[in-house]
């Protein structure tokens, strides 16, 4: 779980999650927000990044306690699933709310 300074009242930028300031990490989290879980390869293709880049970002998010990685098997095929934890969903919702507040009432 990441720690961040307590937000000061005022501008909504203080509510932004620093970990989600990376466009790739934000995309990964956004892709997982509407699903229970998704395959690693599906997220890789959706976000249009390489295996190693996704692996690196997934590890960062996992270290923060926002993302879970689950390994499984479908027949002989190994499958890796990614999912957002409750903490990840909360952080994403908070980040989204802050973005909307910054963007203004039309967004």
């Amino acid at each position: 779980m990441t720690t961040r300074p307590a937000p000061t009242a005022g501008h909504p930028r203080h509510e932004l999650e620093p970990l989600l300031n990376s466009a790739v990490r934000l995309s990964v989290v956004a892709a997982l927000a509407g699903v229970d879980k998704a395959e690693f390869a599906y997220i890789r293709d959706l976000v249009e990044i390489t295996d190693s880049a996704l692996s690196k970002q997934a590890t960062r998010l996992e270290e923060a306690g926002w993302l879970g990685i689950e390994k499984g098997q479908a027949g002989r095929r190994p499958r890796t699933w990614l999912y957002l934890t409750d903490a990840g969903r909360t952080a994403y919702t908070r980040h989204l709310t802050a973005l909307r507040a910054i963007a203004g009432p039309l967004h």
């Binding site: 466009a23 956004a30 509407g34 998704a38 395959e39 390869a41 599906y42 959706l46």
Partner: protein
């Protein structure tokens, strides 16, 4: 990221990713429509077609259909949000309708074509209603 333009760009990116992710979740709606359509074939066949030949056809056909649908579901790369709860609700409602249809169709409404038609619709309804809900925008 502190200004309005950055936030708008980020929100546009999020909207694009979320829209793309939604297409990956669409498989469950297709699964439900296939399940509902199969009920329109299975239920009348079970209620109106009797004898060893009927059993020899309907039971393996049902097994094949259920297996094919299960394989289809297991191979999907995305598990939609709340799928387990939604699916258990659909299957529970279908099981109740199917058991009631068989109980009544094999006792009180033997060889009744109107009852078989109504029973088929009742058994298809849980999946069809859930499929319609799936197709609604979130």
């Amino acid at each position: 990221m502190t200004n309005e333009t950055d936030a708008i760009t980020a929100l546009k990116g999020i909207a694009r990713i979320e829209a793309a992710a939604r297409t990956g979740k669409g498989w469950y709606g297709r699964y439900l429509w296939l399940f509902a359509a199969w009920q329109l074939v299975l239920v009348p066949a079970v209620l109106l077609w009797r004898g060893p030949a009927a059993l020899a056809v309907t039971m393996p056909a049902n097994l094949l259909a259920v297996t094919a649908l299960s394989v289809f579901a297991v191979r999907r790369p995305v598990v939609p949000r709340g799928l387990t709860r939604r699916h258990l609700t659909v299957i529970g409602a279908w099981a109740a309708a199917y058991c009631a249809s068989l109980a009544l169709g094999l006792t009180a409404f033997t060889d009744s074509v109107p009852f078989a038609a109504a029973a088929a619709l009742a058994c298809a309804a849980p999946a069809a209603v859930a499929a319609l809900r799936e197709s609604r925008p979130a």
